[in-house]
Symmetry: C2
DNA sequence: TTCAAATTTGTAATGATTACAAATTTATAA
DNA sequence: TTATAAATTTGTAATCATTACAAATTTGAA
């Protein structure tokens, strides 16, 4: 589907910056940091500001267009794939890959006193290339 | 078991600060931040430095005495319960509670190309008091 | 007791993120 | 089109948890 249409469906005005940022995320699927997005796009958008990327990620987050990945304690990462899945980060090269489960994401023992709205599943270790 | 003995078993010299810090964590079981530990202990240890708490947590982490909890994007939290379990954080009051599963922590679909060393399971939402 | 090693401490630096106001762009109405 | 308001973008400064680092203190062995 068209990126501008997708943004409009989430009640976001599809400005040029927003389209390019979401396009970057959907094309690369690399769970990028703000720095990665900015560093890549500024080559073709010389007036782009890092603050705009921060603002846009916050907007995307609140609109449900992206999900936050806190697998790295240093920098926030974002995922435009909002389907329920987990993530693995290689302790050596830092690359992040998706993790899927047989069936829905596993739920903890019944906690009828908790209203769970979001689940994050992170695994860490060594990837194929680094082990 | 005695805290000093426990530290020695992990090849850590049981200095007074280290004993008090680990004692705080085991007594409170509140998944504290460095600030929480410091703020509580400094009342009875006026010369305690926040840097010491940071140093000690790093030491504990590398020695396997505590585990890092990255459920909060702002501050690191630590858990002296090193058994495999998940965590839930209330979006409203910030309290963190333990999550357990029927059986071992669920594993993702076979990724024979990944060497998984650690798994973190985080859930967020509203706790009993806040929902 | 003496000296070296380990631990603790305080201050300064780092770096990702946020605050904020000015500048620019876009949309709306006359 | 033109004027005006609203939304977006931008740059700079502030924030704040964490780290770096060297000096001070404590500990332990000879």
């Amino acid at each position: 589907m068209d990126i501008a249409t997708y943004l409009k469906e989430h009640n976001i005005k599809p400005s040029y910056s927003r389209i390019r940022i979401l396009d970057y995320m959907m094309t690369h699927k690399n769970h990028p940091t703000v720095d990665m997005i900015y560093g890549n796009l500024v080559k073709e958008m010389p007036t782009l500001s890092k603050t705009t990327v921060y603002n846009t990620m916050e907007l995307f987050l609140n609109s449900g267009v992206v999900k936050l990945i806190s697998i790295d304690e240093k920098e926030k990462r974002y995922d435009a794939d909002i389907s329920t899945h987990g993530h693995f980060r290689c302790d050596n090269c830092g690359r992040i890959v998706d993790l899927y489960f047989d069936g829905p994401l596993p739920m903890p023992k019944a906690h009828e006193d908790l209203e769970i709205r979001e689940i994050q599943y992170y695994a860490k270790g060594l990837c194929k290339h680094c082990k």
